[in-house]
């Protein structure tokens, strides 16, 4: 008996997917904000694992480098600069929390039903397995050069804006 590669890939996908969703749900349930941040890291890293399985290895590395290396650290800094009052309830009023959950569940059901009933033509049986780094680089500087430049300007604006807003007067 030979274990098919497909089964291993599926196992990896389900592991990462389960970890990502479990992390996201725990993020909401957790009472402690710091724990929420750690669960978010679990979700982000698992999403990186899913990227690898879907054939996006460059993106997975970028995901870890930027989210875990920069965004998470930023969020944890934000947490430590704003000491949390643990006495306050973490969730909104029960009414809003429940209606929020209902809205989210409704959106999930609708989108899941849509994407499951749609006929996806022109799709491959398994994810393409090509080296993506060079192709992404080339298309960033040719096809998508205008969005790339706009993103750069956005970064500059965000950087200056963040400094101005957070500066102590």
């Amino acid at each position: 008996m030979v274990i098919p590669m497909e089964l291993l890939v599926a196992g990896g996908f389900y592991t990462f997917a389960a970890a990502a969703i479990a992390g996201a749900i725990s993020l909401i349930i957790a009472r402690n904000v710091f724990h929420s941040a750690l669960f978010l890291t679990l979700t982000l890293a698992s999403a990186g694992g899913v990227f690898v399985i879907l054939g996006a290895d460059f993106l997975a590395a970028v995901q870890l480098l930027i989210y875990v290396g920069a965004v998470m650290i930023l969020i944890l800094f934000g947490l430590m600069l704003t000491p949390q009052d643990v006495e306050l309830p973490n969730l909104s009023t029960p009414g809003q929390a429940i209606s929020g959950a209902i809205v989210a569940a409704a959106i999930f059901v609708v989108s899941a039903a849509t994407l499951l009933s749609a006929q996806w033509s022109g799709t491959a049986a398994e994810p393409s397995d090509v080296a993506t780094t060079e192709q992404i680089g080339v298309s960033l500087f040719t096809t998508f050069v205008l969005p790339f430049e706009i993103a750069s300007v956005l970064f500059l604006v965000a950087m200056i804006g963040a400094i101005v807003i957070a500066r102590e007067r």
């Binding site: 030979v2 290895d57 590395a61 480098l65 650290i73």
Partner: protein, 358 residues
């Protein structure tokens, strides 16, 4: 490559490769594919961890003796000949010590944090090639992945500092976070210089591109990029003179103030493993990786990585600790601009060499 020119029998030049093929043949006869591959990978990882643990023990002894030599002291010299068994004794002591968790600490985070620091620092080794075809995983975004995995360390340290419920730990954790994200930028940017030269982000590809000239000797950008990489690397592993996160005279022991026994040993192991990993990365990116004459490739890589570690020890014994504002000033206003200019110059050089600038 140099592996082919190895004058010794294959057993000396590539014992791991032979053992791998032998075990694979044995397993493939008994169990179906892909189980032998999985078993071999697990075996390779276990062997690597054992080698790293032993190397870390030797590093601790070498560092203590070397720093003692620089300071005209003796250093550890009681356990075993010239004190070589001192690290063994230390490890035994740490394992036998009581493992304290502070009453006010956040238990789950406190327990998990050392693992979040240790596991990435060991996984980095699975990506580092020890010879032609001798890496547990050779992925084509190798260098990016190594740096990405390394960034988990920051998170673990920050979590450890927070979970300890101790002001000094928290301050140490904050210092680490600020320092690591500041120096990660020049580290990544200067690591991109060899990537540009090689035209690939795969670690094996980068090593093979240095078959004739090591990247550190590629004038004028090579030495500068190497220097920035080394300095940023020292800051990344929190070693002197960038050891503010654990500055004894200011904040006790920083983020691991409350850690004792086994968990402290995990932090210690991660720290030295990271120091050697920075050496191995410097060797791969700038010093030709496993390439070298006569000796087998894995010996060359180990030798180069250890040599870089010895430079780190030398620097530790020589330079005083920086002040915090000096640290930030150097990271953002000196190291980052230099690395950016180097990267730009490399890009121009590469396109000039390839003649595809137009």
């Amino acid at each position: 490559m140099s592996f082919l020119s190895c004058p010794f029998p294959a057993l000396v030049c590539n014992p791991f490769g032979l053992a791998r093929d032998g075990i694979y043949g044995l397993l493939a006869a008994i169990v179906p594919e892909p189980l032998p591959t999985v078993a071999l990978t697990v075996l390779g990882i276990a062997m690597l961890i054992a080698i790293i643990a032993l190397t870390v023990m030797s590093q601790v002894w070498v560092e203590r003796r070397a720093v003692a030599f620089l300071q005209e002291r003796l250093g550890p010299n009681r356990v075993g000949p010239a004190g070589v068994l001192q690290s063994v004794a230390d490890v035994l002591k740490l394992l036998l010590k009581e493992d304290l968790i502070p009453f006010k600490a956040d238990r789950a985070t406190f327990v998990v944090a050392p693992l979040v620091v240790l596991v990435p620092s060991l996984s980095v080794w699975s990506l580092i090639p020890w010879g032609p075809g001798l890496a547990i995983a050779d992925v084509n975004v190798g260098i990016l992945l190594v740096l990405a995995i390394g960034s988990f360390t920051t998170l673990g340290i920050l979590a450890a500092g927070w979970a300890s419920a101790n002001k000094y730990s928290l301050l140490g954790g904050m210092r680490v976070a600020a320092q690591l994200i500041s120096y990660e930028v020049p580290l990544v940017v200067s690591a991109l210089v060899p990537v540009l030269w090689a035209g690939t982000a795969s670690l094996q590809g980068i090593i093979e591109s240095q078959a004739t000239v090591w990247n550190v000797f590629v004038l004028p950008v090579g030495p500068i990029a190497f220097l920035v990489f080394l300095i940023a690397g020292i800051a990344e592993v929190n070693r002197s003179p960038f050891d503010l996160p654990e500055a004894e005279s200011e904040i006790v022991a920083g983020f691991h103030t409350e850690y004792s026994g086994m968990r402290f040993a995990l932090f210690f192991l991660a720290e030295y493993s990271n120091s050697l990993a920075i050496g191995a990365l410097a060797a791969v990116l700038f010093l030709g990786g496993w390439q070298g004459p006569i000796l087998p490739p894995y010996v060359w890589l180990f030798f180069k990585a250890y040599a870089v570690f010895l430079i780190l020890v030398w620097i530790r014994g020589t330079l005083p600790r920086l002040r915090y504002d000096q640290l930030m000033h150097f990271g953002w206003k000196v190291a980052l601009p230099i690395s950016l200019v180097t990267l730009g110059a490399t890009a121009v050089l590469v396109s000039a060499v390839q003649g595809t600038a137009a």
